[in-house]
């Protein structure tokens, strides 16, 4: 039977099985209520580590639409639940305080960034693509038909998804841009 006295450690120490007061008797309220911060996650999502190419499985714990923990996926036959220091740090990649989450714009010759609305930025970029495409257009080069623009180049990182790479190559090819490169060359 629990009494108010039970919340007093010295009482527990004197009356319980822990006369030295180093175990049961010393347990605090916070200790009794302790749960891991993944225990009450809303969902666990299976993902893949974004660093090297080993492709370790990750489990992403989400609570209140925030990532609260990322750890290895024990189901993965590649990684068997383990992660390296980078994979273990990948929650910080998502929650980093220095992450930039709004559009920044730098005018020609300007010395500072400005803020820009996402839709406006998209529209401005589209205009510039069409302009650069036109300026660099070649119907022929060295007497051969090429139908391309030399005005636009692109360099992708190798953390792009296959679907992203595919849309990029498809769109660039359709606009005639050929100087399309990737970290895979490096």
């Amino acid at each position: 039977m629990k009494t108010w006295l039970d919340s007093w450690p010295v009482f527990r120490q004197l009356t319980g099985a822990d006369p030295l007061g180093r175990g049961v008797a010393a347990r605090s309220k916070a200790t009794e209520n302790l749960v891991s911060h993944t225990a009450d996650a809303d969902r666990v999502v299976q993902s893949v580590c974004p660093y090297c190419a080993v492709g370790c499985g990750q489990r992403v714990f989400v609570k209140d639409e925030k990532v609260v923990q990322i750890e290895g996926d024990p189901d993965s036959p590649i990684s068997r639940g383990r992660l390296c220091p980078k994979g273990s740090a990948s929650k910080q990649l998502v929650t980093s305080s220095t992450r930039v989450t709004t559009v920044k714009y730098r005018r020609p010759y300007a010395t500072e960034w400005e803020d820009l609305d996402l839709d406006t930025a998209m529209d401005m970029i589209a205009d510039r693509v069409l302009d650069a495409r036109r300026k660099g257009w070649q119907v022929e080069d060295k007497g051969k038909r090429v139908n391309r623009t030399m005005g636009i180049a692109s360099l992708g990182g190798a953390t792009l998804d296959n679907e992203e790479n595919y849309l990029m190559k498809k769109l660039y090819s359709a606009m005639g841009a050929i100087q399309i490169e990737n970290q895979a060359r490096i």
């Binding site: 120490q13 347990r27 200790t31 749960v35 220091p85």
Partner: protein, 355 residues
């Protein structure tokens, strides 16, 4: 129904079994947990397969939301330590897993035209200052020379015997952690009950109780537990007590890529470690040894123990740690005797006066 237990040694100073020293078959029962408590758990850190990746450090910090710190344990500071690839320096209030890197070398006669490392044109006498020390004595320099441990060199024995003439250097890596001692000095001296032994046999600080008195800090024979200066309270590895209550492995052991950090029931880990040691000895790794495995050692055996490839000092571990409260019972007895003597003397003085 509550009954007062037999007189507490905390009050009497009488502890015929010396519960503060020597082997203890059941640390949890000793701390008042009922017979159906879970098995004692711990870490077996096998440094012979550690690749020094530091996943344990990061996984620990991520799970426990610890601040970053430098090699001196200074919070929110970073800096190159110069101690090989180790830049977090030591276990501290902010670093609960720490990977040590030890670079060792010895002079060997190469089957090359030269008997020295190529380019080493030093004469036997009057050599210029070694670039590592370069006549300086700051902490960085001391740290670097200390890992090139002379005793280790004399005992140098490549990990795998058959590596040929080339293996003139070796790079030891070891992930250190709180030992969760059978007899934990920090726990024994804690006056507030902030430190306690869990049902898993581990030793944990309760942040809601700790008042920052700091008695535990010098009580740890390994220098593990540490005070966070801005906060005042002490912090150390909890063996992920919150994860254990949830049926999960500690974060470091979960991440460790090569199973250098193994988590499990202590008796199983001990058996595994004994077998591993035998294997390594069989492969000719004569310098391999277990550290913290022996329950007759100064802390009654550790809950987190290690397989090392060299002397403990090489890794920055004390060679023969002894729980600082070992002599507490006899000290209590001496103190009680002294007190009795004083009381007697004072009483006799009164008696004398009365006389």
């Amino acid at each position: 129904m509550t009954t007062v237990s037999s007189a507490s040694p905390a009050f009497t100073g009488r502890d015929p079994d010396n519960r503060l020293y020597g082997p203890l078959p059941d640390v949890q029962a000793e701390s008042g947990y009922a017979d159906d408590h879970p098995a004692r758990v711990g870490f077996f850190t096998d440094t012979s397969v550690c690749i020094g990746c530091k996943a344990c450090e990061v996984a620990c910090k991520e799970w426990n939301s610890l601040p970053m710190d430098d090699s001196h344990g200074v919070r929110d500071k970073i800096g190159l330590s110069g101690m090989s690839y180790d830049n977090t320096g030591m276990l501290s209030a902010n670093t609960w897993r720490h990977v040590a890197f030890i670079e060792q070398s010895r002079a060997v006669d190469l089957p090359m035209p030269t008997h020295r490392r190529p380019g080493d044109d030093r004469q036997d006498t009057g050599l210029p200052a070694d670039p590592i020390t370069n006549g300086q004595a700051d902490s960085l320099v001391t740290a670097q020379t200390s890992v090139l441990n002379a005793e280790a060199l004399s005992e140098y024995d490549p990990q795998t015997g058959q590596s040929g003439a080339d293996k003139q250097i070796r790079w030891l890596m070891s992930s250190d952690v709180c030992k969760h001692c059978t007899h934990a000095g920090c726990l024994d001296v804690c006056p507030t009950g902030a430190l306690f032994r869990t049902e898993f046999g581990t030793v944990v600080v309760q942040g809601d109780i700790c008042n920052g008195c700091g008695y535990c800090v010098p009580a740890c024979p390994y220098g593990v537990i540490d005070q966070r200066k801005d906060d005042g309270r002490v912090f150390k590895c909890t063996l992920c007590y919150d994860r254990l209550t949830d049926g999960l492995m500690p974060a470091c052991a979960t991440a460790c890529p090569t199973e250098s950090i193994q988590f499990g029931n202590l008796d199983e880990l001990q058996a595994r470690a004994d077998a591993r040691l035998e294997t390594l000895k069989g492969q000719g790794v004569e310098t391999a040894r277990l550290y913290g495995r022996d329950e007759n050692d100064g802390v009654g055996g550790a809950g987190a123990f290690f397989l090392l490839l060299d002397e403990p000092e090489v890794y920055g571990l004390p060679p023969d740690p002894v729980v600082t409260t070992r002599d507490l019972p006899s000290m209590w007895r001496a103190a009680a005797a002294g007190a009795a003597l004083i009381v007697g003397a004072v009483a006799s003085a009164f008696v004398g006066r009365r006389r």
